[in-house]
Amino acid sequence: MILFLRYFTFLLFYMLSFCANAQIDTTIVLEEIEVKSAHIRQEGVGSNVEKWDVTNLKSVGSNNIAELLSAESGVFIKSYGLGSLSTSSLRGGSAGHTLVLWNGLPLQSPMLGLLDLSLLPINSAEEVTLQKGGKSAAWGSGAIGGLISLKNKPDFSHKFSLNSSVAVGSFGYRQQQFQYGFGSKKFQSRTKVFSQQAENDFSYFIAENLPDRKQSNARLSQQNILQDLYWKLKSNQQISVHLWQQYSDRQIPPTNVQNLSVAHQDDRSLRGIINWKKVGERTVLQVKGGFVKEDLDYFDDQQLLESRSSFETLFGEFTTQFAFQNNTIFHVGMTQFYTKAESAGYQNAPSESRTALFASYRLEGEKWQIQTSLREELVNSKFIPLTSDIGGQVQLFPRLHIKGKVSRNYRLPTLNDRFWKPGGNENLLAESGWSQEMTLAADLIKSKRTQANFSLTGFNRTIKNWIWWSRREGESYWSAQNLAEVWSRGLETRFSISHQINNLTLSLKTGYDFIQSTNKIAIENPQIEAGSQLFYTPKHRFFANGKVKWKTFVLAYQQQFSGATEGVNEDLPSYFFSNLRLQNNFAQNGINGSIFLNINNLWDTDYFIIERRPMPGRHFQIGINFSFNQKI
């Protein structure tokens, strides 16, 4: 705490010293110089897309992708606690129903079928995209609820760039980031080193007349090294290489009804991708190769448990795109995955080979677009049923768009679902089903000073062969079964407005989601009734982000509401949750920077996302960021 105060005082003085001659941050990433691929596969016609560029990402006040999506887009994040496992539920889907891509490479563990979004630091990417809705025809397994895409992007205008930030906060939070880039108009290199540590020893409420309990064994230590290299071989050809090494050591805290935990989990990952692309007048060619190597080790010295698992995935992809006329684009590609995993939970080290052929076709007019995609995938010599989608959008009036999409989507069983001992079931089918969505989007105000828009989306989705681990009569162990059928439907509304008066910009982004995601088939064990809402899936979710920007100051307030959910042990009440961020940007002697204060859980709400897993009350983070760029 003393250290925190010392940091705080130092940063406060620093901030004040800059206020006198501060300038608005003028850093703009010149993306247009990059050789663009403009793959129609990446742009979902008919569905909603939200994008955060590097400037947005710096100012959102989120530390990782889980926090970003929760605060900025209202995505429900199932978090086991501060610094603990966090997964997303998109449109009432499970954690495995969100596909996460890093420069086109799927990051989900093939063993668990999910990715811990809290392990993805916000500054690991220069662009984050959230596409809701079914994307399996384009991207394959897992893209049922939606797609999160992280991209690293070059800036060929920089000769030299430095970026550094430090932040400290409550519960022993420390974060350091250093970024160094250099290059020419033809070559760019960027190295990022990022680390964070936290004790996460927050106190939480037990009951009236009882002292708060302090969370224990919750330390997090994470280090990331990212290296991006970009060569522009010719004006229309580019090679990029991305390498990402990550270490994460986490203690697993006890539940609020557990006295002690000494468990800890170490995640190690090395990911790499090389990408060559050539953009012709009417063609785009792209070849990618990548790999992921991950180790996940779990230890519990008290229970004498040591569980080590690891996997390696090799990835290759070839895509090409032709524009026939000005209004027709055809995209075709092939992806190959090979995964091998090892774990004490498997009898033999299982492997999986997946080959997919996919194609997209787009036809567009001045005020409309139609796109359809097809995908056929071969998994260990077995065909997955043909997957397809069709989407379209029309500009009905100058300020009113309507768009919609129908898609078939699937998720392959994970390696644990198939091979875990006991209970793995090699004969599992992929979860699959159809989804439909329609969006009405209106630009309500579109003036130089004021912009306001509104959208309303309705969606409907059925997934059959939903995999549950179940204990069958007479069996001593749980086994994976294609048991459930889940019907998800809902409405999503979004409204945003921004208004500028001289040096003052006011903006508000708000959204409300109503999601019903219900089991259609009753299951005996686990005990699930037909018609019941999925666990940990709120029916109601609301968020509002207000921002006031005056000269160099930014004040941002985030409000979230999550409706009541049903947990596997008990029901969880609804809760409100708020964050406040104060930021001041500065520029002096060619150095741009910002200083910020985040107050998370501003109103000190006691809440649970998962029963027995306490969440922290009000806590603080303060930090400073410098960047220096030398243009070519």
């Binding site: 309990r213 009804v257 557990q258 004498l304 006991p422 209970g423 204990r471 005990q527 042990n569 027995r612």
Partner: protein, 322 residues
């Protein structure tokens, strides 16, 4: 243990094999080991009982019963699933049986002379896995009492019987943990071998063991469904008072007794007497000539045997302490 076993044998001998104690010692396990059904025999026979075991060869998982002499009563979690919290069997013996009621229940079949007869009772205690989970909580199950210590939690063993293929509605209940007391200092988790009197169940073909807990969710009971038993006493044909012939040349009254029994010797002569409990443990002894009033007020409720020796002739009779 040896003494008890010997006395039980004597007891059995003069009762015409009246009772058999399944104490699991005969499996001759090496130290710190267990039998979990991996031999594929489908269970264990001991005395006049059969303890079924279902072993999944492909996965190495089991349900039903294991026979164990592991002594680890400090390591929490699944890796220590065979151990009793006492760290030993009943009365300092080595071996005991560990039950795992995956899916809700497990059972014990009565065999041979015990089939269709009464079961006197058995000793029960918590497994280390369940005990420490209830005391400390683990990543799946709650510590009993909850965050405040006031949750009225319990871990309940319910024993029913099958007789002529019919499950009894009557049951014997044993709280392996009980946190329902107003005064939290009275809350307890069983950590000793505790006798369970099964005579109220009456005659049986098999015993059914059900575990329930207040810590239950969609995936079933969170409290580990493990428990340990030892020294299960079956009766082999004579447990009901009316089946036992009365002492010849003596009268025993009242029966059932409360504070005393009166034994009257119809023909004069020195008589030695002993009183045994269900386990064959001598609880009282003495001698008299004509008539003797023996205090039974110190005895726990239950069934006892009085053994009379006169001129080298041994007779015995059951009596009930109310």
């Amino acid at each position: 243990m040896y003494r008890i076993f010997t006395i039980t044998l004597i007891f059995i001998s003069f009762f015409l094999t009246a009772q058999t104690t399944s104490d699991f010692e005969g499996f001759n396990l090496p130290a710190e080991s267990f039998l979990n059904g991996s031999d594929g025999n489908g269970g264990f026979t001991n005395g006049n009982i059969f303890l079924p075991n279902s072993y999944e060869d492909a996965f190495g998982s089991w349900t039903g019963w294991s026979i164990s002499n592991t002594t680890d009563n400090t390591t929490p979690g699944f890796t220590n699933q065979y151990s009793a919290i006492t760290g030993e069997g009943f009365a300092n013996s080595a071996t005991y049986a560990t039950g795992y009621t995956a899916g809700g229940r497990t059972n014990i079949a009565l065999e041979g002379a015990a089939t269709g007869e009464k079961v006197s009772g058995f000793y029960i205690t918590n497994s280390t896995y369940a005990y420490l989970s209830m005391q400390e909580g683990d990543s799946f199950a709650k510590k009993f009492g909850g965050v405040t210590g006031n949750d009225p939690d319990y871990f309940l063993m319910t024993i029913k019987k099958y007789e002529n293929d019919e499950l009894s509605t009557d049951s014997v209940n044993v709280y392996l943990a009980d946190y329902r007391f107003e005064d939290n200092t009275q809350d307890y988790i069983v950590d000793e071998w505790t006798y369970v009197d099964l005579t109220p169940l009456g005659n049986a073909d098999s015993l059914q063991f059900f575990l329930t807990s207040t810590d239950v969710g969609t995936f079933g009971m969170n409290t580990p469904a493990y428990f340990c038993i030892d020294n299960l006493i079956t009766s082999d044909g004579i447990t009901s008072v009316e089946n036992v012939e009365e002492l010849e040349g003596f009268t025993l009254s009242p029966n059932p007794a409360s504070d005393f029994i009166n034994i009257k010797n119809k023909e004069a002569g020195e008589v030695n007497y002993s009183i045994f409990d269900k386990l064959g443990r001598e609880v009282e002894s003495g001698s008299f000539s004509n008539e003797n009033r023996i205090s039974t007020s110190f005895l726990a409720k239950g069934m006892y045997v009085v053994r009379i020796e006169k001129k080298g002739m041994i007779q015995s009779q059951l009596f009930v302490k109310q």
